[in-house]
């Protein structure tokens, strides 16, 4: 079986045939020793180098926690990858069309207006959580289409705050 794994900008082609101890990563043979410690926690020895991951299914792949943080790995098989290419969507998906709250908190200030153009890095909304004020910034240039919150309003995690045009 051939899997295409995407982490950030990087793609890995991983071939697993029957025996899971011998796999190929981007054409290179790698020896894998895998041990499930418990639950979602796994110890992996690749060519005897040790790693420990917790793998949580999320968005067509896994959130992989590596001890000091996490990264997202998109996992699809080769057939699906080919299909996606044929259909013209490379799997990257549409760009974010809205700003969502990364954590629950209280809206302190809205720094933009409807119709305003923002650059990458511009401040959009200030949300107070855990006694600290946090500025949410634009990840990409955009135009503000709709503002769905007001100062003083509590927001839930993932709640839509601002819609981009």
């Amino acid at each position: 079986m051939i899997y295409i794994v995407t982490i950030g900008e990087k793609k890995y082609e991983i071939i697993i045939d029957g025996e899971t101890s011998e796999v190929k990563v981007n054409g290179r043979a790698v020896n894998v020793d895998h041990k499930n410690i418990r639950g979602k926690l796994h110890s992996i020895l690749t060519d005897n180098t040790g790693f420990e991951f917790e793998l949580v299914r999320a968005n067509g792949g896994f959130d992989i926690w590596h001890g000091s943080g996490s990264l997202h790995a998109d996992v699809i098989d080769e057939k699906t990858e080919r299909l996606r290419k044929l259909m013209g969507s490379s799997g990257g998906g549409a760009k974010a069309s809205s700003l969502r709250a990364p954590m629950p908190g209280l809206v302190v200030k809205v720094e933009v207006e409807v119709g305003q153009h923002v650059k990458k890095g511009d401040g959009l909304v200030i949300v107070e959580a855990m006694k600290m004020e946090n500025e949410l910034r634009a990840h990409a240039p955009a135009t503000i289409k709709e503002i769905k919150i007001k100062p003083g309003q509590p927001v839930e995690k993932n709640q839509e705050l601002i819609v981009f045009a």
Binding site: I7, T20, L55, F62, G67, S68, M132
Partner: protein
């Protein structure tokens, strides 16, 4: 000695004080808000009392509820920890009025040091150098301009009732002064209900160095060396160490004596910290006094061998200090990294969630003061600090090496942490050289979203492996059964007709 102490706090500091109580054979009483029912401090204490809902303004900050729990439990004393009610003079007074011992300084000392301007006046009177500036409140921008010209730009406008950077403004030249005065006053008014502001010289690249003092109620006061806390982000300490790479024995003695003078001027009893700003020429200026046990107190414990939490309790019972200044020796080097649930890749936004995997480092020279466990939740209601990771070594290089080892061993899943951020600071050549300042992070830290290639590759491999295994499992459990041969199918039919549909699955 007390038989029972109530701890008016939560998290790692509540756990730390419960441990001190156990060391002294004293029963501990925890208080908890609704979401903290399963918190570590509640699990470890001998007794626990609910005090209300999640927001601290309805639980940990309500004086009557804390005093009520103390009365009900029969605790003779209350330890406030840090934060919450620790530097609230009214709370200290309420304890005394209820016949309960407040483990900390007298209310008068808290009040005096809480007013930053009153503290500056008292320090000047005690011949302790203060950051050049005013001792009287500034009313308007005309007064401010006069002062600024006298001490020279840039200047810092600060709130008298201040703290946490609120009501603080840096002013680089005269054109900025008017709006800065107005802004600082209104921010101070809304944050503290007190719009008095004053002016200090803004030091270009200061180091934050503080002295731990401890005083008993019999007139003895001793300094326990310094802690350097220059590595800060947004006025929030991130890494602390003792001793400071800058401080030599003569500077230590001078700072220590100034700190003791400051404590005496305030009529201070119990453990306290006098904060100074210092420059690279070893000049130092009084900044403020914190009238509580500090977050970073363990590094002082590691290099002096003195258990500060235990000493605090002994002093509160009226005991005389068991050591004098001459007994204090600074041995080895200690570093503390504050492990926060925050995400360096998204501008250090706090990160909430359940600690789905949690493994603390150990081994030679490592101490972890934490208030969490695997499965515990980091909620939005309280401070995002997960733990304080401490490393001790015979010298600074060994302490750094051990800290890096421990950071590598720490395993946290479920919330983003600043562990990698700590690693990058500890590996920075300027940090290794001990050239620190409160602007260190702004000057030297640059976030990178890059992962080590080997890590990313192995993660990709693990993802593919999990996907492969779960697909195989699906196949085995029969969601998509491979087609059986005609022989088998006819055989099954035959069996079904013989034993009936029900018994065959």
């Amino acid at each position: 000695m007390f038989t029972k102490i109530l701890i008016a706090n939560r998290g790692e500091i509540a756990v730390r004080i419960i441990r001190a109580c156990r060391d002294l054979g004293i029963r501990s009483v925890a208080v908890f808000s609704e979401p903290d029912r399963g918190a570590l401090h509640v699990r470890l204490a001998d007794e626990a009392y609910p005090i209300g809902s999640a927001p601290s303004s309805e639980s940990y900050l309500v004086i009557e509820k804390i005093i009520g729990a103390a009365r009900k439990s029969g605790a003779e004393a209350i330890h406030p920890g840090y934060g919450f009610l620790a530097e609230n003079a009214a709370f200290a007074q309420a304890c005394i009025d209820s016949g309960i011992v407040f483990i900390g300084p007298p209310p008068s000392a808290i009040r005096m040091m809480g007013d930053k301007m009153a503290a500056r006046i008292a320090m000047k009177a005690a011949n302790v150098a203060i950051v050049p500036g005013t001792e009287n409140p500034i009313d308007d921008d005309i007064g401010a301009i006069k002062i600024a010209e006298w001490i020279g730009y840039p200047i810092l406008i600060k709130a008298a009732a201040g703290g946490g950077g609120k009501g603080m403004r840096i002013v680089h030249d005269q054109s900025e002064i008017k709006s800065a005065v107005r802004g600082a006053k209104s921010e101070a008014k809304s944050a503290f209900g007190d719009d008095r502001i004053y002016i200090e010289k803004y030091l270009a690249r200061p180091r934050h160095i503080e002295i731990q003092v401890i005083a008993d109620s019999h007139g003895h006061c001793v300094y326990l060396g310094e802690r350097e806390c220059s590595i800060q982000r947004r006025h929030q300490k991130v890494i602390e160490e003792a001793p400071s790479p800058l401080v030599n024995p003569s500077m230590r003695k001078k700072m220590g004596q100034a700190a003791v003078a400051a404590a005496r001027a305030a009529g201070y009893i119990n453990a306290g910290t006098v904060e100074f700003l210092a420059d690279d020429h070893r000049n130092f200026y009084f900044l403020e006094m914190n009238t509580r046990l500090q977050v970073e107190h363990p590094i002082t414990e590691l290099v002096t061998g003195i258990d500060l939490a235990v000493e605090q309790i002994k002093i509160a019972t009226g005991e005389t200090l068991s050591f004098s200044q001459d007994d204090i020796q600074i041995t080895g080097h200690a570093i503390e990294c504050r492990i926060y649930a925050e995400d360096p890749s998204s501008g250090f936004l706090p990160s909430t969630g359940v600690l789905s995997a949690y493994h603390e480092p150990a081994g030679p020279g490592i101490r972890v003061d934490s208030g969490v466990y695997e499965g515990a939740e980091i909620s939005m209601y309280y401070d995002p600090m997960i733990s304080k990771l401490l490393a001790y070594g015979k010298d600074r290089p060994q302490a750094i090496a051990r800290m890096l080892r421990a950071l590598e061993e720490y395993r946290i899943s479920g919330v983003a942490t600043n562990i990698d951020f700590h690693k990058s600071i500890l590996r920075h050549q300027e940090f290794i050289a001990g050239r620190l300042s409160t602007h260190f992070i702004d000057m030297h830290y640059k976030h990178s979203d890059e992962y080590p290639e080997k890590l990313a590759e192995t993660a990709a491999l693990a993802g593919a492996l999990m996907e492969h295994q779960s697909r195989n499992k699906l196949n085995l459990s029969g969601a998509k059964k491979p087609k059986a041969s005609l022989w088998k199918r006819s055989g099954r039919k035959l069996m079904q007709s013989r034993i009936g549909e029900k018994g065959w699955r």
